[in-house]
Symmetry: D2
Subunit: 345 residues, 4 copies
Amino acid sequence: MLFFRNDYGQSCIQDIVDEFTAIQDQSFVGYGEDTISLKAKELIQSKIPDHQVDIQFISGGTLTNQTVIKSILRPFEAVISCDTGHIATHETGAIEATGHKVITVNNVNGKLTPDLIQKTFDEHMLTYEHLVYPKLVYISNATEFGTVYTRDELFSIHEKCQELGLYLYIDGARLGAALTSGIDYGLNDIASWADVFYIGGTKNGAMMGEAVVIVNDALKPFFRFCMKQNGAMMAKGWMLGVQFLGLFKNDAFFTCAKHANRYASQIQDSLFALKYPVLMKSDTNQIFPVVTKSEYDYLKDKVDFEIWEESGDSLVIRFVTSWHTSKEEVDQLIEFLKQAKQLSV
Amino acid sequence: MLFFRNDYGQSCIQDIVDEFTAIQDQSFVGYGEDTISLKAKELIQSKIPDHQVDIQFISGGTLTNQTVIKSILRPFEAVISCDTGHIATHETGAIEATGHKVITVNNVNGKLTPDLIQKTFDEHMLTYEHLVYPKLVYISNATEFGTVYTRDELFSIHEKCQELGLYLYIDGARLGAALTSGIDYGLNDIASWADVFYIGGTKNGAMMGEAVVIVNDALKPFFRFCMKQNGAMMAKGWMLGVQFLGLFKNDAFFTCAKHANRYASQIQDSLFALKYPVLMKSDTNQIFPVVTKSEYDYLKDKVDFEIWEESGDSLVIRFVTSWHTSKEEVDQLIEFLKQAKQLSV
Amino acid sequence: MLFFRNDYGQSCIQDIVDEFTAIQDQSFVGYGEDTISLKAKELIQSKIPDHQVDIQFISGGTLTNQTVIKSILRPFEAVISCDTGHIATHETGAIEATGHKVITVNNVNGKLTPDLIQKTFDEHMLTYEHLVYPKLVYISNATEFGTVYTRDELFSIHEKCQELGLYLYIDGARLGAALTSGIDYGLNDIASWADVFYIGGTKNGAMMGEAVVIVNDALKPFFRFCMKQNGAMMAKGWMLGVQFLGLFKNDAFFTCAKHANRYASQIQDSLFALKYPVLMKSDTNQIFPVVTKSEYDYLKDKVDFEIWEESGDSLVIRFVTSWHTSKEEVDQLIEFLKQAKQLSV
Amino acid sequence: MLFFRNDYGQSCIQDIVDEFTAIQDQSFVGYGEDTISLKAKELIQSKIPDHQVDIQFISGGTLTNQTVIKSILRPFEAVISCDTGHIATHETGAIEATGHKVITVNNVNGKLTPDLIQKTFDEHMLTYEHLVYPKLVYISNATEFGTVYTRDELFSIHEKCQELGLYLYIDGARLGAALTSGIDYGLNDIASWADVFYIGGTKNGAMMGEAVVIVNDALKPFFRFCMKQNGAMMAKGWMLGVQFLGLFKNDAFFTCAKHANRYASQIQDSLFALKYPVLMKSDTNQIFPVVTKSEYDYLKDKVDFEIWEESGDSLVIRFVTSWHTSKEEVDQLIEFLKQAKQLSV
């Protein structure tokens, strides 16, 4: 069965296996204060020359979002997110579990906008202490729909946050996909817009692991206390260091993401050519075709994928490519799509 | 200045002053285990002959909602509410502060419906443990818009909750207003539909205080632990007992609410006669006229009221009547409304 | 039956009844922003001439402690308290419920000392982020044993907190008792030592209510958000204003506490004269005699009091005096104690 | 430098590397629902033939303790632990962060006893709802001092918990060390005494990972919701499955622990022979010698170890052995200890 279910369906890239093998017989101090983690942090810092950042590694995305957001907010403060934001949907209330409301607003192509932020802020200032105080803006880049913020969009959100005294946090579970989607900004720019962001490893070739990057000096102190309290500090911390050493030593982080994007783009182009509608045009490695029930029936035994939405006779499904996706798999998928379309005509 | 700002703008009804005065020189045990509280509870229990209920008194509505909801839910469980529900808006994230998500759905005239509950439940079952588990339904009766659930509506929500294994909690901040609005059900019926509800004192003539009524046996044990932990157990508990003794000994609870409803109805009828639009037809003591900027300017120095919404040149404002509202005040308000309309024509 | 069970067994002093009666027919804005609360705050501020303080009224002690402590601490920070501190014992884990550890240390006559604070702080710095960060010191004055901190003791705790960068919070549930126990400091001094403290009304003549006094400017912003979120903001806020207007307009706060202290002292002197041991010499209105089983049996049907500890054949019991205690009651109690002693000899 | 700092200082055993390598090119479903995790669970279940258990894998100990305890307790319930229990000390208040008090009692050789549990329970029942309700007993086996509970001790704690209606949770961070220390019970017995326990991988040869074993049927439902909400559900769940496959396929879990215990025992015997005092006689892989300042100075540049306590001129230090410890290292350490003793004489 072809695997287009997600981008975290295989263990890890060879670069990481190599780093892991190289240190198999060495001893390290625990809790992320080892030399491997240090090297990995230096590599990431070197990509962000204009900012002096703090970097910490955490094993997964939900734990990262929870730890970061809890560390930033006072009890009565809340975070603004799209209704499609990962923290607003697929984290089982992890943010609310820390005592904070997630204020959701309707997304625009999976994105937040400065206007939506302003409107939400204004509404909350009206009756003041009878409502939560929105203090943090959460966006994902790439978004949960595979779209990517433009340079202008990110800059204007940053400006709006500065104006209103809000922090900006970017969930980078698929930041690699965003940065290799043809946009004109990089990690160093992200650091100039966000107060905190994370660089996702799990969905871009690592066994596990996300790199939290804290840019704003006010948010740096005591972050490791928050990690430890939240169960987010690994005893064998170098196992996370190994992931980012493997991802950044030879820029596998970027080549893997580019690889996935290219194949996704090829699939999307084929969908257009085959006259499949899509939920939304994607810029990255997640593609959302709309298929009929009979097309779905044809595909479902040949390809492993997720159903995104069902409505009446049509379904939105999701194909995801990754560092592991091969040319053969993509060609085969396109062939299946062709046949499905012919059958259903 | 005429006072139509809210229904909690004066201290309390004379019946309560009398009860308070009567015990001024007596000594009591603390924490709500006194004889006054007991008597008040017996009076309330007597209105609910078909159910053996547990009753506890708490000083205010937000504290009550927080304590009840926290006592019911396991960490990963959530509460479903209208987007206009008090817990979803004007409680500064008090529910989220206890670790629980408030799942908001669009209201229908300020109300939830069985269909909305079913739809929300289904959506959450789709990806199961990646989303919170909706376990509790929260409704307000009367609603935040002054509308009242019919017997059929409440029964069908109750049935839907039973079917899906959800608890039903009714916020009765203005339950008096609902029960005296001409509907065909009473406290005993409420107890047959809700697992827990509260009888609001603060907005119906008491100095403070809400009476939590726990009907479902499974939710009774250890509720007082939750109260104490939440700061919701008053040392001089009989001060709350006094409120409900005053409200229920001679049924002031009902006569006060009826009094407020009658005057509100009179105001609403005048609004219709004067061709003022309203946001929504109210069944109880909150009335939401839509006024022009110039009508507003005329009224604002003569009447104390709240602005509910502003949009362009028109404003939704709110008049609230209470046990304290007098015929003279109502007549004067109607006169002002007449003049405002004439000026603006 | 004589009532020496506690100092919150009767409704309230006449001064408060008078204030309450005076405003019975007036209308007020809600949530503590009324003119009565304002007047009460001005009276309290006038007792603290050297500091510009923020004052808020909350209905009870547990709710006050919870709201204040939650408002001060970041998630990984903890509060240091005596093992006998109210927050460490009789609040059903209210502080832990907000996510914070209460670090308990053995008390010295119900008190904390600078040395104990230093030792606790040092221990927690050893392995740093693997332990909570102690950021707040909690003391009660008068203590739960009826003892009172001296001027030197308070000053040195203040100095230690300053040195270590800790906040100092004083639980003043019985601050009136402390301030009228013959010590050489007053409210203005308390404000120069504590970052936040509260002036207890419930246990000194009010129906309910504690006045939170925030001295440290850094802790003032957004406190009302914390109140609202915690259910600690009363709709009819002037009902709390009335309490403190009654307590401070004619200094009833001090005369009531002095009244209670004087009678307690008289009881304690009699205990000494009658050769009853005491658990600890008290400076205020709580007295802890040690009685035999037979003395207890004699007293228990004549006097309403609490058992503090039981060990073998002897019991520590507690007598509490209040603003309501009369000369006749005290004389009668002493007579009973005399008879109990004679019977048991 | 010799490494005796801890038992989590090297990546992992070869059996795990082999399992990892074997699946490097395969695709899996996420979140622990893969075939590798299933196989690992079946292996563990096979060691517990008398009980049908639920098993879940979590990346580390603090996250495991937090998730399990939060999943069991209602808001007002608390957990009883030794003062030396890991949750009471080195987890930065992770349990309190979930809203629950950790009631600490003085340890007896690092252990809890039925008497201590009974005494704590009784104290909390005295004033009932004014104190937290102790509902869960937490013990570590092996303990934080390297001691091991006997069969009788565990059985009697189990019986006491049953009698009082408490749950028993065993922290098995070093359960392997306990089970290979010469005691007469195994995993199947542990399952007959505990409601929940975990089998520690991190400190016994795995890269990371603990296996939570839920025995009590009442505690099984919805545990995965708690995991997800707590950030404790790994996307690439099979990476944790791989750990326990490697540990249990050929019983490396037991041989590794035995290996570590044997060397620790050899070191402890030498300490006795060399007349070094120890803090407490250990049964497992943690050894706590007491050394003089000059002995410490001699050792500290040759051996990597932790200081446990300092008092006056003597220090308690800790040597930990692991699956990775070699005969050469142990011999060398003993030689250094000999020389240190000679120098200091």
